[in-house]
Subunit: 310 residues, 4 copies
Amino acid sequence: MPTTHHFEPTTYHLTLGQHEPVLRIQSGDTVKTSTVCADGRDRDGKVVIEGGNPQTGPFSIEGAEPGDVLAVRFDRIVPNRRFGWTGTMLAPNVVEPHFVHRLAQGWVRGDWEVDLETRTATLVRPETTATGFTVPIEPMLGCFGVAPPGGQALNTGTSFVNGGNMDYRGFGEGATIYFPVFAPGALFHLGDGHAVQGDGEIVGTGIEISMDVTFTAWVHRKNQPIMWPRAESDGWMLVAGNARPLEQALQHATTELVQWMLEETTLDERGASIILGQCIRYEIGNVFDPAFTVVAKLEKKLLDPYRKAP
Amino acid sequence: MPTTHHFEPTTYHLTLGQHEPVLRIQSGDTVKTSTVCADGRDRDGKVVIEGGNPQTGPFSIEGAEPGDVLAVRFDRIVPNRRFGWTGTMLAPNVVEPHFVHRLAQGWVRGDWEVDLETRTATLVRPETTATGFTVPIEPMLGCFGVAPPGGQALNTGTSFVNGGNMDYRGFGEGATIYFPVFAPGALFHLGDGHAVQGDGEIVGTGIEISMDVTFTAWVHRKNQPIMWPRAESDGWMLVAGNARPLEQALQHATTELVQWMLEETTLDERGASIILGQCIRYEIGNVFDPAFTVVAKLEKKLLDPYRKAP
Amino acid sequence: MPTTHHFEPTTYHLTLGQHEPVLRIQSGDTVKTSTVCADGRDRDGKVVIEGGNPQTGPFSIEGAEPGDVLAVRFDRIVPNRRFGWTGTMLAPNVVEPHFVHRLAQGWVRGDWEVDLETRTATLVRPETTATGFTVPIEPMLGCFGVAPPGGQALNTGTSFVNGGNMDYRGFGEGATIYFPVFAPGALFHLGDGHAVQGDGEIVGTGIEISMDVTFTAWVHRKNQPIMWPRAESDGWMLVAGNARPLEQALQHATTELVQWMLEETTLDERGASIILGQCIRYEIGNVFDPAFTVVAKLEKKLLDPYRKAP
Amino acid sequence: MPTTHHFEPTTYHLTLGQHEPVLRIQSGDTVKTSTVCADGRDRDGKVVIEGGNPQTGPFSIEGAEPGDVLAVRFDRIVPNRRFGWTGTMLAPNVVEPHFVHRLAQGWVRGDWEVDLETRTATLVRPETTATGFTVPIEPMLGCFGVAPPGGQALNTGTSFVNGGNMDYRGFGEGATIYFPVFAPGALFHLGDGHAVQGDGEIVGTGIEISMDVTFTAWVHRKNQPIMWPRAESDGWMLVAGNARPLEQALQHATTELVQWMLEETTLDERGASIILGQCIRYEIGNVFDPAFTVVAKLEKKLLDPYRKAP
């Protein structure tokens, strides 16, 4: 019978890798835990670790083996403090090269007050032409994933087949993400909460904030590997492709979405092409990190007529 | 006082260029006309011209001069026949290189029945695993624009600063598009109707169909050039950047959106960055044509607190 | 019997297109003519036309028809004045985005004295940390080509299947270039001489100079089209692919080089792959213009054992 | 006084990371060692490790600290067996998407006989249209480098700021490479010898072979970091930029070459731009691996007039 674990982290990782698990759970168990924000500050604003996107975990899901698929559902993602922060200037790679000199040099942090009652965030400082700007929040996690293949340890600033720093605003409460497993126990890490984030993460941040997170993890299927993180959210099936340039990320996402359709439906490549051609949606997770993220999406109900008999 | 013109085309162009106008209208006039589909078939299915994306027009808007901005509102875009057609196989550049051999070679056309009452389209032939697939329609134009700069004549398969074959599904009824003007009269061309299209136009087509189109055109402003097509639609302001690769298209769209914000609001570069960072949306028009199209969007109401006094 | 024509231009074109020929020659004829420099100054430094890369021509080669291949050999390319000019700052797209602000804004022209006896060029002004820098010259043409397909007229700043502004330093005296023909007479244009140019044209110019040019043109083969400009020079066979991004230009060049090998040798795709894998050379023509140019090269003698019997 | 060490490897690594050093040497020492080929076969053809690009090492250079620069000179790189192997089919990403189906599916290995007396390699099997093809050898190492930043462990199939699988044919005998140091002792790894390799490594391999390697390593400078691998070879200074897409690799290489010029000469950004604009050379190391490699080069003698007084 599934168990709910409470885990309060005291150590964090700056790579996704085959680190010693902080907790071993059974397939189907739920974990209530928390994450610090991207610069390592916790719910009290205390710096508990230096560096970028510190990860809570890893959690070992017993029975997950290389070649399997791990599922993680984000049951709850809620900011656990009232302040967040952002970059305040567009990244130079998202504007035309000749416009870059118009972007002020030097990092200036924006401080935001996050109101969980109104579910909004407001820029409170520094003094800029946008101070006082208020935006509805949509909490999500920017960086999470499992241990990567080949015994690698990958910086939490980037992403790959195992997830990582995808910075996709669709990875919020209610989403279920499917990961390829490369190490025994899968080794799930999570962190980098954003109260909200625009497409592309083009100022280099969402509204960075510490989070209380509840997730449930299970071994979704045995020995039928997938190539890229898949997810289901709000009636859509979606795939995140992580690479540079955007074309390659889009190719990964599109190819994996076709593979998924071939697995679950009676459609062949042409049938999948016909439906995707008129119905696919693309979203840009980030165009800021070392690997960009493109998401390919399809409404699940469109495939109902074609589902394989169970 | 604005006039409504009825114009039935008999000739078409396969480039956007400084062709002799088929009609000269006053700023503010409305034109009711029609377009043939991408392979040159009209409302009766008759081939009236060979070749790709034949354009109706150009229409000269009297008083439009190089350096001005031309506005065109699509008042009505309605398919004028009951059949459309599509490609049926993903373009090789949207899947991983090693997956390309899985895509069947050779062009196979899909034929769709378009029902204006139910506003759906259904694949009727050939026999495939997706035959019978039905999708709601959202009519739009794939290719339209003004004469390009420098006396060029550009193929209707590609796009540039003057518009062209952007294949963006958001350019439907109700959208108002703003173009930089490069030639006297602007010389507006239009064609390549789609009953519907997925993001990216990844089978190389939407549901290609001939259209009845009503548009209204006017000189939006004098001698204050813009760099890329801008548009307003459904509460959003948006910019289409057309280039390869996707990063460059995204840079064009983002830069022009910042410029627009600087023109119309009290925000400076940092203020614009702050708002875009958490609120921008990107959409991929096409990743199929010689120039890709990326659209950068922002909800207009977000800028209400910052609008310059008129 | 081949004729040598002397043609002194008085008009120039700023697009490559189906312009009225300035001279009609027979296949095999030679033309002695001249080109103005990229900003339209002639041998005397007089501005004879405003604008970028003005082209001498077009020359119609009688008998060249769409589907044929036109050959043009550059018999002589010699600067016809003693001064040239360059940009003096790296283009922002060739450095990392965060480094762009280190590049001074604003165009500053560098003036060079070109000495045909020593075959060197020396920067004479303005005063910079590199003034007095001397470089050996290797004269070449940056922009030349035939009329493009589909009735287009393309800006002389960019390049395509028909040639154009490739800015490849290997297109100098002695090179023979092969073009696909898209219009009757092929319509050969030429201009944009450089006394020398580095790879990539990364300051936006070579040493721009007016030239005396002698070329010989002939119909190389009938009704067997090629896709991209091919060339032979100095024992090498080479192909120029023109596109953005660099990967696409490289794909065009590599594919066309394979096609060429398949046409002229007994090698199949695998045999061509084996040889190219260990022996191909790539060069970057330009990474500055709207379309980048990548050249794929192979030493011709490597194919001697595999040539088809004539 | 420098020592020469003989080290015969018995273990290998499939990541570049902070592994336990196999040998600790003093700055200035020389090491005579060997590398297995990319599929883990040694001088006798015996498989001593499974997997891609196994690395000999790491070697700790005492005194090298994060922020320093490590120099490694390849004194000798000589194949230590008479057979090598290659891929035999172009990678799908180096041809146009529509051409991919022309490339046969399935890996077919080519076996080459390597003759150290004639310094040539000859394809001996399988039977193809290119069997018997003979090419001069130019031995080099495809993959080598130091431990990467941030405690990462990176697959030997890719490359980054610390070197790795750059697959650049210019990294042969006589080259001195400079690395940024990220871990105490720098931790130099080496492997993946090629008897020869074309630009781009477009069949996915050079002629893969085990090597005897002699190298000398020293702490080149203290606490003045560099960003990317630099090298000196045969009168040229060069920088390897490793990233996708090619544009980004080129930006890294160009920017680092400018930085190097600023460090060692009296030139400022404009002066460096002027010289690079007419004299830079680019080479493509690989367009096959996860990160591509572009090399930016300049003849060192061009900078002699501008060198800072020591």
